[in-house]
Symmetry: C2
Subunit: 139 residues, 2 copies
């Protein structure tokens, strides 16, 4: 028990970012499922690139996305493409999906004017024909 407490203290001290979003410590990982997303600010962006989307365009855009998600206030991210699913309700017409999570709206407000975000827009805005953003906070 003392070991668990010591360990917990170590984790909370050394990984403030994860502790802040409620990630379970090792001692709590006996549960099969841990909900770490629910309290976060979810920023999901879908990009429709201008056709033709050449290999060169993909390489440039993916490199830019990977640089973008190094912005400090981002907790976690997913850089995606359509999954190949197909049903009436599914929109699989987009080229790229960018999902990023923030601790709260204030951290997202730091991301928006961040030089890396502004560079991403400046470098890539000519590549896309449409962008749709959905921001969500917990119910």
């Amino acid at each position: 028990m003392i070991n668990k407490i010591k360990r917990r203290s170590f984790i909370e001290t050394s990984a403030k970012g994860m502790a802040a979003v409620g990630l379970a410590t090792g001692a709590q990982l006996t549960s099969a499922k841990v909900n770490t997303l629910q309290k976060l600010f979810i920023h999901h962006v879908y990009f429709w690139l201008k056709k033709p989307v050449t290999g060169e365009v993909k390489a440039k855009f993916e490199k830019a996305l990977k640089e973008l998600v190094t912005i400090e206030t981002i907790i976690d991210y997913h850089l995606g493409v359509p999954a190949g699913t197909s049903r009436d309700v599914i929109d699989a017409s987009y080229s790229y999906s960018l999902l990023v999570t923030f601790k709260n709206k204030e951290d997202q407000d730091i991301y928006q004017p961040h030089p890396k975000h502004q560079k991403f827009i400046a470098d890539c805005q000519d590549l896309w024909e449409k962008v749709v953003v959905y921001d969500s906070v917990s119910i």
Copy 2:
């Protein structure tokens, strides 16, 4: 070091779901940021409920969402509403957002016909006027 190895083994054995998605063990949490989303299958659904969205409708829908996300193959989820942000590219017209993550497409394929998912659709489909789904896999 032996303690770290033992602990890691314990975590990987007792929390297969989290280990499977690459969640860092306690020993690895010295890094400020851990990317756990990137390898996952992202299923993001936006619901536009029929107006007026009364308190009674909200209560019914939120209860149904909370039951839906107990489906076993879901790794993590976010039940959301528009975050109050406003820019040209932002669509804040939806009523609810449901973000769920799966280990892979196969786990999402278990979710789709799952009795709890079918019950959710049967109980709630009269509440919405539009649903848009975006499925994404890693680049």
